[in-house]
């Protein structure tokens, strides 16, 4: 059994004062993989070796570091990690920071715009969960796929869809990434391989499994050198949905290159996960299907990134799927229409202290990866980018009338034959939107 050594991926360089994790750390094993023939032993070992380098204060062996002054030496001891053992380089740190700031600032701007009446319908914001999106998606290539839920703005942004296109889409303008036809819950991008934005929970999971199936098909049938990976993001409520289990089964059976990322923010709209689930530890459902199940602190982008590296690496090597449960929290309500009165203010306050952006900032500054000024510059840059995105969206035109009938079919003959005997799509009035339909 893998439990003899304690990988302790829950604890790491960033101090956490979490109640949830503290309770869980007393249980014997955080990471339980299935028996070795699924290749999880290597995963175990890898994680274990990572943690040896970055275990918490007071447990590590001394590392020899060249330091220039006592002050720096002291600082190093306090921060419990040496330069050579840092999880990220300066460049990576800045990329992660920028991505999380973009996600947070974008969502805040959405809320502002919604209350000003520029945005409408259903808008679900991602505040507080940025570590999961950044931690996973920043490891992907352009060809890898991301499939998400209705809470998909930040996934699209992390994957590379420009902020101005996402903002325009939310405003319902023709310059949006789906030309205003999708909306908040349906972000699609062929270029960046964002395969949606789905409104129903669990709907995206089989679609993601299918994209992973395509990767494997390309590898085995076309004999292409294809190691594209798919990430499926979904919440805790979805883990009680039938489609989730069907897909875990198929993915494990066929060893598909997919990572199932559970963003467990404890609340399915207003339903508490603990009250509605027979066994609230979602990571355990992985081994039941023959894949490793991993639990990670989703408020810490570096921990998420480490786990993500392993899981994505596993998928790329063809070793099959992984189920990763990220313990996270959303700072706002389920959607902008949700007054968020059901959650305990104490719980919200507690998680506010674990803000992933603040934690990363602390890590970067304490380890001298960048200066305060660098980070401020990034924040300023993002603010300007967003101002520009909002301006762009405001000034963009609304869709023309003719757009109503466009793109229902890839082959427009699907509209059939009109009363004059010709295909409707050949009638110029039809495409202008002025014909009687």
């Amino acid at each position: 059994m893998a439990c003899s050594a304690t990988p302790k991926i829950v604890h790491g360089p960033l101090p956490t004062n979490s109640l949830r994790s503290a309770e869980k750390s007393d249980s014997s094993c955080k990471f339980m993989g299935p028996s070795s023939f699924f290749g999880s032993k290597s995963l175990n070992k890898k994680l274990f070796s990572v943690n040896k380098a970055v275990s918490s204060v007071g447990h590590r062996s001394a590392a020899v570091v060249a330091v220039s002054s006592d002050v720096v030496k002291e600082k190093k001891l306090k921060s419990s990690s040496s330069l050579s053992n840092l999880l990220i380089t300066r460049e990576e740190g800045l990329v992660l920071y920028e991505d999380m700031i973009l996600g947070r600032a974008f969502e805040d701007m959405c809320a502002q715009m919604y209350y000003r009446g520029k945005m409408f319908g259903f808008v679900h914001l991602y505040n507080g969960q940025e570590a999961v999106s950044t931690g996973f998606i920043k490891l992907l290539k352009k060809e890898d796929c991301v499939v998400s839920t209705y809470r998909d703005h930040v996934h699209a942004l992390s994957k590379g869809v420009p902020a101005r296109q996402v903002m325009s889409e939310l405003f319902g303008k023709t310059t949006g990434c789906c030309r205003g036809q999708g909306g908040s819950m349906h972000m699609f991008s062929k270029e960046h391989n964002v395969l949606g934005g789905f409104a129903f929970i669990g709907e995206g999971i089989p679609v993601a499994t299918g994209a992973a199936f395509t990767s494997k098909y390309k590898r085995e049938v076309f004999k292409e050198d294809c190691d594209e990976v798919t990430l499926a993001f979904f919440g805790d409520g979805t883990c009680n949905n039938g489609q989730f289990f069907e897909c875990l089964n198929m993915a494990a059976l066929w060893k598909l290159p997919i990572v199932f990322v559970v963003e467990n923010n404890l609340w399915a709209i207003g339903m508490s996960h603990l009250r509605s689930t027979s066994d609230p530890e979602i990571w355990k459902k992985g081994p039941a299907f023959g894949m490793p199940g991993v639990h990670v602190d989703g408020m810490d982008v570096l921990k998420v990134r480490e786990v993500a590296k392993e899981a994505v690496g596993r998928a790329r090597r063809g070793e099959g799927p992984t189920l990763v449960e990220c313990e996270t929290y959303r700072f706002r309500g389920h959607s902008l229409a949700d007054p968020d009165e059901l959650r305990d203010p104490a719980e919200k306050a507690h998680y506010a202290t674990r803000d992933p952006i603040a934690a990363l900032k602390k890590y970067i500054l304490e380890n001298n990866l960048a200066s305060e000024a660098d980070l401020k510059a990034i924040e300023k840059k993002i603010d300007e980018e967003l101002e520009e995105a909002v301006e762009f969206a405001e000034e963009s035109p609304v869709p023309a009338r003719s757009q109503l009938l466009e793109n229902v079919f890839a082959d427009p003959k699907g509209f059939g034959i009109g009363p004059d005997g010709r295909y409707r799509c050949e009638d110029p009035k039809f495409t202008e939107g002025t014909a009687q339909v």
């Binding site: 409104a199 890839a410 509209f415």
Partner: protein, 344 residues
């Protein structure tokens, strides 16, 4: 590489199936069962294009796939570049995956504004079989026919089956392909043109199976056969019926139907599904709105009985349209006096 394959397949005359070869006559017309038509179409399309693959319950060696899961999986594969053909044991089972057919497949090209199209085919038997009970006998033509973004076709003969399935697989949009279990074993003559590996039938065009002048009988799938038999019986009574095989439920070939009604002035629609909001209702509405002045009699709609399908064999027969029902409806449309319902 793909191009060469396609060329190679086109060059080889279709004589692969020994059963067919033994049936070949000296004329160029062969008999082919609908089942063979479908299989040959699938076979040729899969050989020509390696991105086409078949998935379903108990298909090939992929045991362990379950409806909602594999329907969505097929859609995801289609998003990302493959061309799946998803097979359902019957379309009743597809109800468990209908969310994916409609929300993930039909609506995606529109929601993504042309970014992501879904070249997927959902096929399987539709409608009643023989004694399979209420949960296995529903006809879904009108349900799927209502959804924008889907193309829905329902073949009758082997020629229809081959041509429409090839067209469906080559189509860049989601196509729902409604077959009929009882038709699988029926044989139809097929010309050499039909056997060509590039033979396709355009989606959205109906076929006039038999020309006539007195009454138009419009139907699809198995009911086309019944309509043709009814036309023979009506001919003996001096009524020259025109039988139209819709072939496509969505898009509906309104122009052919309307042109026919303008010629005959009477319309009878036949379907196996439930009567309310059925295919016949849509045809009737189309004709009333486009050719009202040409109608000499109210439109007669024949559909399955408005009840879940019973099991008992004699009840099942009267729950479905029979040739006799079509004959009586046509006569009513021609103002001949006939009993309103079956006397047996």
């Amino acid at each position: 590489m793909l191009k060469n394959l396609r060329r190679a397949v086109g060059a080889i005359p279709f004589m692969r199936n020994p059963a067919l070869a033994s049936r070949s006559y000296s004329v160029s017309v062969k008999q082919m069962m609908v089942r063979e038509a479908l299989n040959s179409a699938l076979d040729e399309e899969m050989s020509a294009d390696p991105t086409v693959f078949l998935m379903g319950e108990e298909v090939g060696e992929y045991q362990g796939a379950y409806k909602a899961g594999f329907t969505g999986l097929g859609v995801g594969a289609a998003y990302y570049g493959l061309k799946p053909v998803i097979e359902f044991m019957t379309f009743n089972f597809a109800m468990q995956g209908v969310d994916h057919i409609i929300n993930s497949a039909a609506k995606t090209n529109y929601m993504s504004s042309g970014n992501i199209n879904v070249p997927i085919v959902f096929r399987g038997p539709n409608g009643p079989a023989a004694g399979v009970g209420a949960q296995h006998s529903q006809c879904y033509a009108s349900w799927y026919g209502a959804i924008p973004g889907l193309k829905v076709v329902s073949p009758y003969s082997s020629e229809d089956a081959r041509g429409l399935l090839k067209a469906a697989i080559r189509d860049p949009d989601p196509v729902v392909f409604l077959e009929n279990e009882l038709l699988y074993g029926e044989s139809f003559p097929v010309s050499k043109q039909v056997l060509d590996s590039d033979f396709t039938i355009p989606i959205g065009k109906a076929k006039i199976e038999k020309e006539g002048n007195d009454v138009s009988i419009v139907s699809f799938s198995r009911m086309v056969g019944f309509s043709l038999k009814a036309a023979e019986i009506l001919a003996k009574d001096g009524i020259d019926a025109e039988v139209i095989n819709l072939r496509s439920i969505r898009p509906l070939d309104r122009s052919t139907v309307n042109a026919s009604v303008r010629k005959t002035n009477r319309l009878v629609t036949v379907e196996e599904g439930f009567p309310q909001h059925g295919v016949g209702a849509e045809i009737c509405a189309s004709v009333v709105s486009d050719s009202f002045g040409y109608l000499d009699a109210p439109v007669e709609r024949i559909a399955g009985a408005d009840v879940p399908m019973p099991y008992a064999a004699n009840l099942e027969i009267i729950a479905l349209p029979q040739v006799d029902d079509i004959v009586r409806a046509a006569k009513r449309a021609c103002y001949r006096s006939v009993p309103l319902s079956a006397t047996r």
